[in-house]
Structures are given as C-alpha cells and as structure tokens.
Amino acid sequence: MSDANERISKIVNENEVVLFMKGTPLFPQCGFSSRAVAILEHCGTNFESVDVLQDAEVRQGIKAFSDWPTIPQLYVKGEFVGGSDIMMEMYEAGELQQLLADKVGS
C-alpha cells in the first residue's frame, strides 16, 4: 500500500501532465479513458500515460492516493485535476487549456 503510494507520488511529481487510464492513448480500453485522451490531444498537450490495467498495485493505489473512486485521473504538476467528466467541463469552459498554459506552458 505505502509502496504503491510512493510509486504514484514519484510518477505524478516526475511528469508535468500524467493521465492514469485503462489502456494506452492509442488503444484505450474504456470510453471514459478514451474521452480523457481526446480532450488532452485537443489541448495539444504532451502527456505521460499510465495503463492501470498493466499494474494492479497502481490500479488500486491510485484510488486511495487521490481519494477518487474512478479511472481515468489527470494530474498536472503533481496535483489531482479530476476525472473525465471534470476534464470535459473544464475543457468546455476553457479552464483546462488555461490550467495547462499556466502550469506547463503548452
């Protein structure tokens, strides 16, 4: 458990924009993950992705890490931003683009 926490914390701190998802950006395995990837691609952001289906420890651990029950989960500069619904709302309001521009400069 604490191992998973340490690993996740390392991942979110070492990558400016990281999406924990089911599958990969090229082959998402869930509609919500697919939507999250599409939103980030529309923002033109480079992002790292972690396929939780390949890593049972991270798949369970990420839910406790953010106190958030579902996947995908987006982190920007180590901060939890939200799941795909929140990403969509923020994107439609222009807030996600703003956040990425402010924090990552892209």
Binding site: G31, F32, K63, D67, W68, P69, T70, I71, F80, V81, G82, G83, D85, I86, E89, M90
Partner: protein, 77 residues
Amino acid sequence: MAMPAAEIEALIKAALPDASVEIRDLAGDGDHYQAVVTSSAFAGKSRVQQHKLVYEALGNRMGGALHALQLTTAVPN
C-alpha cells in the same frame, strides 16, 4: 452488477436532501448512467469536491456495483 436509477437517486438524496437529480440510463443496461445533480451543498466548492460529495453519497459503489456514472454537478440558480 447493475444498479437501478431509482436507487442511485435515493442514495444521493439521502446525503444531499435538497438535491435535484436527473438520471439517464445511457445504454439501457442499468450500468451506464449519466447524472446531473444540483444542490446548494456544492456552493463554494471545487468541482473535485462537488463530485466527491456525490461519490460519498454512493458509498463504495462507484467503480463497483456502479460501473459508469457520467456526472455533472451544479449549484441552483
């Protein structure tokens, strides 16, 4: 492991009594829902905090008995 819409609505209203809840069964399979929840409890809270209130209302069902819930939260006008 489906869950009826009425049960989702009841759980949300039990935790957020003033909430108005609109639920749509997206796939007709009792497993993929869209919900719009409007409650004064969301006032002054971030989107993440608002969604967490709804997830808390649903107990540990999110990601379990309830596979997919597309969620939108709002504060009443």
